[in-house]
Amino acid sequence: MQKISLQHRLKGATAFGCAGLALAAFAALAVPAKAQTAAPEAMPTPPAYTPVSQSDLVGASSSDGWLMFNRDYAGRDYVPFDQINTDNVSTLTTAWASGKIDIPDGFEGTPIVSGNYMFVTTPKDHVIAYNAKTGEKIWQYDYKIAPAAYKTLCCDTNNRGVAVYGSSVIFGTLDNHVVALDATTGKEQWNVSLAEPGVGYSITEAPLIVNGKVIIASGGGEYGARGFIVGLDATNGQQVWKTYTIPSENEPGGDTWPKGMYQTGGGAAWITGTYDSETNTLFWGVGNPGPWLAKMRPGKNLYSDSVLALDPDTGKMKWYYQYTANDSWDYDGVNTPQLADITYEGKDYKAVMEANRNGYFYAIDRTNGKLIYAKPFIHDTSILGMDKTGHAITNDALKPTLTKSIFTCPSFLGGKNWWPGSVDPDTNMAYVPTLHACMTMVGVPVTYSAGLPFLGEKFEMKDDPTSPGQYGSLQAIDLSTGKQVWEQKSAYPWDAGTLATKGGVVFSGTVDGFLKAFDAKTGKVVWTSPQLTSGIISNPISYQIDGKQYVAIWTGWGGVWPIWAGKLAAPEVKIPRGGQLYVFALPSS
């Protein structure tokens, strides 16, 4: 069985070259993006740009553009466009494509579209502005990363995208700077440093703008970096507030750590959060505690593996919910906390939904942080269920020690990794990119040394015995029950985000380089793109210009799977590297 799926995958991989040739004509439409020059290449007269206001951001769900990482503050990755629908999606064709960008790392960026401008990021913190209608390159900005930053990367050189506000395009860097560029010229407006490079911190997430503040957070949980979230003044980058995700000894929650260990406690908040404008509440996920080996830090280790509800103007915490206490398995709580109003067992709730790394699909009351329900969405041996207080019961027999090796599911990459899924108000379903794998794990001695990994465990990904050779699926989950409605299985990991649309079509990309469309109600594949130039590990978006709907996606294989999946990633070695942005639309009549 495994042999067959391997052959299938290799066959897919060899077809990449042909697709590249067939699409070369489209690539010629756009100026090849070379990532070497330092100065922004500005056109003489850039297209007009309408500055983005806070009310534009609050209304982003009905915008023709794609104004923030998850499109709207609710984080739904859903568009109310139905020009492309289940009846005509099979006729989609390439509207334009960028040149191929020869950076061999993973392209995880979500394009942002504001008016006729599309702003994209590539690995290693390059930012490019395209004309979203024609594909013409307007400018490119090449950030110079401090070499020390390369010391403390865990999982590739990602940049997941920009934020837009006023006439600024704002993004974070691998060496912990936050930079604002002029939207029409790419010229730097301000540039601030949040932390030294090379000691553990790095920024890969897109910022979120709320009430004139740039909200952004660090990565670095593998290096014992104590996580933080900041609010910066969007006009000049000055820090307004900074909230650590791991409390010090005298703060609330500080007693959930052995003395002094908060300083190297991890808790990286490395994926963009969401916002409820009705209650002025920010929701942001927090990663796993450091070091990874739980036996070294008895206690719940707040606020690791949690979602925080914060005041976006002060950074003050309103409530928290911890998904996995005293985690030893790397079950980050950073997956997008998506806002949805749901009915569960006859009662209405204002909820946040999260398909968590620990393998449970959560609905949490976003007014108070209390659990509504949590249901497993993969084969799960680490979590045994929920206790009476509404928190996960961890399987402590499956926590490793220095002398005890364990086998558990899901793996350290979780039942779902960072790729944003969608919440669809039309179908009342969540679409979840899912991973199916388990792991062995054992403790190894470790002492903290700034700039070196701080794990205290070694681990290896293994097949899930209940689905060997099947590492991914896309599944739909009913928001009102937490139960699976449909599932599309894949030999590959499902390493890409989803886009849901009012047209009844869900889009997502595959590791072997296809953008696919699924019937939102049934999961049936209703369109498959030609094979693109590389694998897809990014999030598809959709926007409208002059009444025409477009769907855009980055290809560019890389990211966490090929680095950390070990033998399970062997079939993907042959996937071509390098990124290319593709934009699809219905044929012009």
């Binding site: 070499p147 390369y150 010391k151 403390t152 040394s449 070196l452 070694k458 950390w564």
Partner: protein, 137 residues
């Protein structure tokens, strides 16, 4: 170890003690043969993440000041432990002890450490308190 070697080492130690230049130079911690074999181990198991020139890509840099500057205050022990027990990522500790010795010799060589007559040893390497500062920019 033969007497000639001991004499050579003693001589080197005496020279080192009498010369500030020699004090600043890093010690010889591996043999040229190890580094040569280590280059192959590196290209087959490490280069895909750390770059063919060790300058870092998906994984961290393993050469120059972006790897081990004086301010890092690294010693061989924790860095070699990371390599030998955690790498390659995804298949930790899957190489032989000899391969780990060789690849670490190669990393030392690429960071300006000279080859010598004494082999880099796996067990001693795990607990070595010898400082690790790259001689490369």
């Amino acid at each position: 170890m033969n007497i000639l070697k001991i004499r050579a080492l003693l001589g080197a130690a005496l020279l080192a003690g009498s010369s500030t230049v020699a004090l600043a130079a890093p010690p010889a911690l591996y043999t040229a043969d190890q580094a040569k074999a280590g280059a192959d181990v590196f290209s087959q198991n490490c280069a895909m993440c750390h770059g063919a020139d060790l300058s870092g890509a998906a994984g961290p840099a393993l050469v120059g000041q972006a790897f081990a500057s004086a301010s890092n205050k690294y010693t061989i022990g924790p860095v070699f432990t990371e390599v030998a027990l955690q790498m390659p990522a995804g298949q930790p500790a899957s190489l032989t002890h000899e391969q780990y010795e060789d690849v670490f010799a190669y990393i030392l060589q690429q960071n300006g450490y000279p080859a010598g007559t004494t082999k880099f040893d796996y067990t001693a390497g795990l607990s070595s308190k010898e400082s690790l500062v790259s001689q490369k920019p």
